[in-house]
Symmetry: C2
Subunit: 479 residues, 2 copies
């Protein structure tokens, strides 16, 4: 696993991405069209993502549960927009137990419909509300073009499903979860995001309103990295989810759903990765520190090994591995752990043993020669401090990158010229119609990523129609 054959990002971003995933052993192609095998290193990253999100879900009163992977086809058909959106992507079980099924079963592409069926059964009164449930599971969408992590036939995610007594509470929940996604993205993954409303053309099939977090990748394209939907009364009406209110009147519930998937692993790769490989944020990295002993010869070997053992013991609060492999050079190990994005490397050689020191190398700084000699004594505090710096600097660097590549444009001419010249995010005022949006997409391949909240109440002229408006939009070419 040497790095010399990893394509550079500027040569071929897409190949850099694919090769990096395979070579860092995050995932591999499965022998089923569009599916992936998530390998232990990739799954450990996903487990850390899960833990960081799960903490936040539980702190806001949600509990996990499990719903069947099979959904009767008729369920999907009850919400008209929902089935229109998902019909082309369904995988369908028609044979089971050696016999043709009377009603085919859909392999869930998402669970709103079966959730609706069960919530209608469970919810009787206002006392049962809100229902706050999250599922960690796998879903299947038969996609035409697939790409590891970003768009796979089967993927892993969480889908939250909540039911509320009022429209206001449902909207509040929808935005709360959007904020949780943004908080997770920025403070755990060091991925800065823009949060906002999706346009009607891009909203979830069956939702009243969809919100998303949008991140800028290393190639300046956008990635929708998490979505939160206010489903209004749509699914409640389709599945008859009703409750008796305080006045003993039957009312429809208001429901929400929200999801974040293994796609986010793709975001982490593309936001932080460089030509040497992955750069993983310390809070989510499967390994935070790798220790490479530089053994020297004879007596020195034992002394180095002893020092390494002491250091490893001192660092027990971190996720640490000592790379003791024989038959490969330290340089080979450095390259490999750089490819795999471990935030900190510690080198310990005979001279370090003599001087009670160790060499510390950060993965995230672009100058690979930026080595720092630190004391072995108190090394845990040093490592804690450096990991915090890495985490902070990664967010800052990604935010700068995003901001430097976000452009305000005032006319469609300017829009096209900036998009083709510089690329990135185009921040505009927007007063156009769904048809305008479609036309722009057709002509430029750029879409409205979201309408960020207009915090300052600014007004301006729509770059496309010229109409005055308070609505801002972020356009970009997207994954």
């Amino acid at each position: 696993m040497s790095t010399d054959r990893l394509p550079s990002r500027s040569d071929n971003y897409s190949e850099w991405y694919n090769q990096l995933i395979l070579r860092a052993e995050l995932a591999d192609y499965a022998p089923v069209r569009g599916c992936m095998v998530v390998r232990p290193y990739g799954w450990a990253l996903w487990e850390n993502i899960q833990a960081a999100l799960d903490r936040r879900f539980k702190a806001t009163g949600h509990m996990n549960a499990a719903f069947p992977i099979f959904i009767p086809k008729s369920f999907l058909e009850r919400e008209k927009e929902h089935i229109e959106g998902f019909a082309p992507e369904l995988a369908i079980v028609t044979i089971a137990g050696g016999e043709e099924l009377e009603e085919p079963l859909v392999v869930r592409p998402t669970s709103e419909t079966i959730i609706g069926h069960m919530y209608a059964k469970w919810i009787k009164s206002y006392r049962d509300l809100p229902v706050l449930i999250n599922l960690w599971n796998n879903v299947v969408r038969w996609e035409l073009r697939t790409k590891l992590f970003l768009r796979t036939t089967e993927f892993y995610w969480q889908e939250g499903h909540t039911a509320h007594a009022t429209a206001d509470e449902a909207e509040e929940e929808t935005l709360r979860m959007l904020d949780i996604y943004a908080d997770f993205a920025e403070n755990e993954a060091a991925v800065p995001v823009i949060r906002g409303l999706k346009s009607d053309g891009e909203k979830f099939a069956g939702a009243l309103r969809s919100y998303s977090i949008e991140a800028m990748m290393g190639d300046l394209r956008a990635l929708q990295a998490g979505t939160s939907h206010n489903l209004g009364e749509n699914f409640a009406r389709a599945f008859n989810i009703r409750y008796l209110d305080h006045q003993n009147q039957l009312q429809y519930c208001w429901t929400t759903s929200w999801g974040l998937s293994t796609r986010f692993v793709g975001a982490i790769i593309m936001v932080h990765g460089d030509d040497r490989g992955l750069v993983l944020p310390p809070r989510l990295a499967p390994l935070q520190v790798v220790i490479v002993p530089i053994l020297g010869s004879g007596d020195q070997r034992q002394a180095v090994e002893s020092a390494v053992q002491r250091i490893e013991a001192d660092l027990s609060e971190f996720r640490v591995r000592v790379d003791r492999r024989e038959g490969v050079t330290p340089g080979f190990k450095f390259n490999e752990w750089e490819l795999r994005g471990v935030p900190l490397r510690i080198e310990v050689g005979p001279r370090d043993v003599q001087e009670g020191s160790a060499v510390l190398v950060r993965r995230d700084t672009s100058d690979r020669k930026a080595k720092e000699t630190v004391r072995q004594e108190g090394i845990a505090a040093t490592v804690r401090d450096r990991l915090a710096s890495v985490q902070r600097d990664m967010l800052e660097r990604a935010t700068q990158h995003r901001d430097q590549n976000t452009h305000r444009v005032g006319s469609y001419e300017e829009f096209k010229s900036v998009l083709d010249g510089k690329g990135g995010f185009l921040h505009v005022f927007w007063d156009g119609s769904a048809e305008d949006e479609d036309r722009i997409k057709e002509e430029t391949k750029a879409t409205i990523r979201c309408f960020p909240r207009n915090e300052n109440g600014e007004r301006g002229r729509c770059f496309y129609t010229g109409g005055e408006t308070m609505r801002s939009a972020v356009f970009a070419r997207a994954y």
Copy 2:
């Protein structure tokens, strides 16, 4: 949710089990044949089971990963016994993305085959071994008769899959994981188990040898609660999993697989539950302590609430809920939390406030009036101690129950008479053939649960053939 309608175990064990699961809100029937919805309380129990096992897997060097839920049908057919065993139970996707698939996809019933395919790709040399991977996922087996948790069309489990250089290492791994299951069952779930080899008729389809842990349920029937398989070279040959050894010779790997599923939740229910409902072992219980304030009137209410808040804060190391619901009596709450099996209940009323005390009630003791008055001060230490006692006593009680209902029999006449009279586990010497085993099953519905290791080298006469043997067997009627 009142308990008066829960059937008693002696009246109708099966209905007691079904009703208890529904009323304790562990799970519900799904609108898809044989599937279940695992509700938040049931899933929280499973999450604790997962955490307890996952810790043990990681401590023994295993890492988690994810493999696709779809497997090309041809893969299953490569190992002859494997496809024979699983063919009748397969759910098959024939349509995807609006088109008929060229090759139908099986929804995984287990993952040995797709694991085999990928391991063949990944493993090149002895340096790559052992491969120690575990998957937490969902699988589907189209069962004729289903029962919540015990046998459902879709279920949740972990499946470990390892590859080794030698037969000895594979056998060692197989037994290591069997021991981990037994350790988990006894020390986390308070479920005593017998571990042993399965007979050839009951082994996993494609295995060289299968081992299981077997537990006795409240109705004296056996439940296979976890299995560990030495797959020999069977899957390695079917999928060409080979490595270059130290002499640069290509060798087949030796593989293992091992699984424990949501079926174990059924074991916990049936081993510990009583006529009042669930009795959950403290180490796995979603809630370890429920606090019920007995508010009294006027000024007292505030004083009780303050005391409850102090106690709750003191118990932050435990999984605690304060039941502050209004409009239901304390008695109603007691019944409900007993039904749901919370190990400890703390009652705090006005008199307790005056006296700095609280009332503690254990769920596991059969005498529901066994209340203990304890000091509020230092209550965390008291709770820690009582939870440990509950955990210990539950294992002891279950072990006694199992031992009291395990009988040594010396002849087939005695076997049948004890089985019909007392039931339970029948410990015998066994020298019979597979045909003998089938005949006994047909005549008595009892099967060989496993051959426990003969630690003391005892010899005896087979109860069926009369032949002298060193092999012991445990027979029982089983789920």
